[in-house]
Symmetry: C2
Subunit: 301 residues, 2 copies
């Protein structure tokens, strides 16, 4: 009997997704940060859809402040809409909690969700609550709709060999607290899609070592990572920057002739957030590989 931990998350998804009916030719489907649905050729706006979950002991510890857990639950999803060049709109919240959970914990969770929804411009549309058996982990599942202008849609599958690879902010050390307090890069992606649309983009949720190969594979490319300029969070090692995960920074690609003007305009627009060129997309045959990053069904490191 093969178990999920033996198969791994990416292989599991490859086995499961073909079992379900799907759009024959999606704009962006399972595998991208959000699904993108085309309401019809006359619509300048596409519908974006996303689901995500936080699990106690996996995404937050039992003693984490519940308001911070609530913030994170919404912010992770908002970050995926940012990564597509879009905006979140309506949220559906599913709570699966042990019956001995305190009402105060649930209320503070919702206060944190509310703070993040107000910052992101999202609205509650519906929800579901269920008990889990005593002793089971808390699970918070968030689904959301959003929108993106058709010409702003940014995918992870559209990089080309020769593109520069860039990353916002610094990487690593998320477990020291940033994973509960990060701000989704909505302002930055709003600016990017209007001023210098990336050739490809995603948000960094499982670590650069996991996510950069995903973006490259989705684009049919390889990559060469330049480790010297890698923006490592102060106090972290390079391995942590590559593998900690939950950075929620943007990983984007840019045609090489547009990189210098982008970097210049960026530093004027966002003087407090770095944008760093960390490598180049290449033909698959000459690409590197990377080890590390977060696999939901791998044994704990």
């Amino acid at each position: 009997m093969t178990t999920l931990v033996e198969l791994g998350e990416d292989a599991l998804i490859r086995r499961l997704v073909p079992l379900l009916p799907r759009d024959p030719d999606p704009l962006a489907g399972p595998g991208d940060d959000c699904a993108a649905i085309d309401p019809g050729p006359d619509s300048p706006i596409l519908l974006l859809l996303k689901t995500d979950a936080l699990v106690e002991h996996i995404h937050f510890l039992p003693d984490a402040p519940p308001a911070a857990v609530g913030w994170k639950a919404i912010a992770r999803v908002a970050s995926d809409f940012a990564a597509m060049g879009g905006r979140p709109e309506r949220f559906l919240i599913t709570l699966a909690l042990p019956p001995n959970t305190s009402v105060n914990w649930a209320e503070r969770l919702y206060q944190g969700m509310g703070d993040c929804l107000r910052q992101c411009g999202g609205l509650l549309a519906g929800g579901e609550t269920s008990a889990v058996p005593p002793g089971s982990a808390k699970v918070i599942a968030i689904a959301a709709t959003g929108s993106v202008r058709r010409n702003h849609l940014t995918l992870r599958s559209t990089a080309k060999p020769g593109d520069d690879i860039l990353v916002t902010g610094t990487l690593g050390g998320s477990r020291q607290g940033k994973h509960l307090t990060f701000t989704p890069r909505l302002k930055q992606t709003d600016w990017l899609v209007s001023n210098c649309k990336p050739s490809a983009m995603m948000d960094l949720s499982d670590g650069l070592a996991k996510d950069l190969p995903r973006l490259a594979a989705a684009s049919g490319c390889g990559f060469r990572l330049d480790r010297d300029p890698l923006p490592v969070t102060a106090g972290c090692t390079e391995a942590e920057a590559l593998g900690d995960g939950e950075d929620f920074e943007l990983l984007l690609c840019c045609r090489p002739d547009r990189t210098a003007p982008l970097l210049s305009a960026w530093s004027a627009a966002f003087p407090d957030l770095s944008l760093t060129c960390i490598g180049t997309m290449v033909e698959p045959a000459v690409g590197q590989s990377l080890a590390g990053g977060w696999d939901h069904f791998a044994p704990a490191p």
Copy 2:
């Protein structure tokens, strides 16, 4: 410290929902079977949104056939779209599973989901997988979008005193298997909204004893239940018909002068599924109350 089990599900939702930003004037918001979003006055079609979850030990037992669990996960959500007079379209699937879950279990779960999606006309749009700690219950969260014609939208808040109360099929005994194998009443609601639109409608998920008071309260009405014609599943008691939950039949209301023609047309259209008049909506002051039904945070019966 008050716990969720002490507060109860409905009171919990009343405490949590006001903490989040919402549509100021929703067509149907938290509390109805789906949320209904108006894309604008020119659109004849409204967007419907729904989320739901299945938890091991609560909604299915560990030895339940995984394909039946998958069928149920999709069918519960499809039933909510039926209850609004609409259709489900795109599905987002979140799995939170212990790492020692067998790949075969997950594949058979997805096969059951696929069977129900094909029957309901739903498509997979995206998903998320996460581990839960060993020993935690499996959680399957489903979110979906759908659509309904503006003039077909059917709410639970629009019944009026004097309306007849009707129910499809038979009630009770879901735990003997029907809760895993039921067919969402999409064909029937398609027919109803075109032929005899109910004055109010919902699906029966938590038992008539829980759901009829909810529909009445949402409509600002009371109710009088006529127990003699109550369609009790063979082998069940009246208490089970009222309280078992997970019938996934339709509870609907009808202006009294339209009930006889509805019953006659229904039996011609659906000779294999009963439709039974079980009572009358009344002014709140003269209504009955009912005990029983399913509360997710109540102690097990």
